[in-house]
Symmetry: none
DNA sequence: GTGGTCTAGACCACT
DNA sequence: GTGGTCTAGACCACG
């Protein structure tokens, strides 16, 4: 967890995104116990309240659950993880195509751009 | 200019983006005179100050210039327009690939996704 | 009279300045007849009203006078021209020293800067 | 921050200049926290929006940055400050020499004037 | 009629 | 309490 934040958006929202990505990318395994909120807050260099807020949101989303007195865990529901991963991917694809279309770049060109610019990476 | 705004981001920023896209997509031609600030504000259903703020940003960016007491115009510098168009496209591509990579989806898969989901559009 | 105007300031004010400078620099001689307002406006590519406004200001300042039905002339009062020239020069010097002082640059340094940067011209 | 404004130029622009000068002259230190926008507005006797506008410009320039919900700070980039200081100084020198040249005063005379008039200060 | 500026006052999210 | 945004409404210089 690196702690570089964009000043334009709420920190807690950026935390949500980072942790969500760690889960759906598999970096945080299904069922794995998370460090304590305080610890997470420390390593991310944020206020514990802020980290707490982020975790609550992930809990609402179902990606994280709490065992009272025991800690917070990544959901064991791998299908949910997979589902959210696909949702996110789909979202990104749609965003990309929409953005390009708005700029006046067709679907075919959008793929070409991807191959050109992505290949140089 | 439709007037549907996303509550997450400042209205003026959304206006900037919309107008920028109208310019780089060619919907607003190079050198063309824009409607007056007041008129633009009316059709976008925002306060003139908000529209003004958006136009100032586009002016800083170079896409728009002002003739005192006469009105605002799309830049005559077509190369600048083209340059910004390419920048934006590149930005979108990089965002897309980055986002996908974060989710744990490879470059090759990112292209596949695009072809699958895009084709259904 | 070149006709490049800064959009930040009123055109008439820029005209006043340009003509004033032509007079105190000697480019327009004392007693010399000026072209007609229309002609001046044409060559400067401005609205005759705008040029007229500029000339009125110069007339108030004393640098220009009107002979009814005959035209406008640069004042014959060479002392006035000289006086205004000195005023302007003094004004510039004071501006310069003040500006530099505000930036935190001393009088001595201000002279050094002048010699360094001016020499490279 | 004294609150005497020249009616010829926008207040916000005059604020920008004053604060910029306080930064490059070292009166406001690199990294230093600025008073809140509201406070600055109060002491300068302007509307908070006007002060805000000035600060946004300084932020675009890089001399000021914002920590969300925490306040605004002078940049920690001392090189940038130094660079802008030099730019400003150079600008002033060029303006001075140009102005004098326009009036019909040579480079050598411009220096003499400076020594005469400046000495009497 | 054009853009530009300014004020007053309000509301919001964030920490 | 911090910055950010937005609205409403007013006034101004300019051409």
């Amino acid at each position: 967890m690196d702690y570089i934040f964009d000043n334009e958006r709420p920190i807690y929202a950026q935390l949500v995104e980072k942790i969500r990505i760690e889960i759906i990318s598999g970096k945080l395994k299904s069922g794995e116990r998370l460090p304590s909120v305080r610890e997470l807050a420390l390593t991310a260099r944020v206020n514990p309240n802020t980290m707490q807020k982020a975790l609550v949101e992930l809990e609402n989303e179902g990606l994280v659950y709490t065992e009272r007195t025991n800690g917070k865990f990544v959901t064991k529901d791998q299908k949910l993880i997979e589902k959210i991963k696909k949702e996110k991917a789909k979202e990104k694809v749609n965003n990309y195509l929409n953005d390009m279309k708005n700029i006046g770049i067709s679907y075919e060109e959008s793929i070409k751009y991807l191959q050109e610019l992505g290949g140089s990476k």
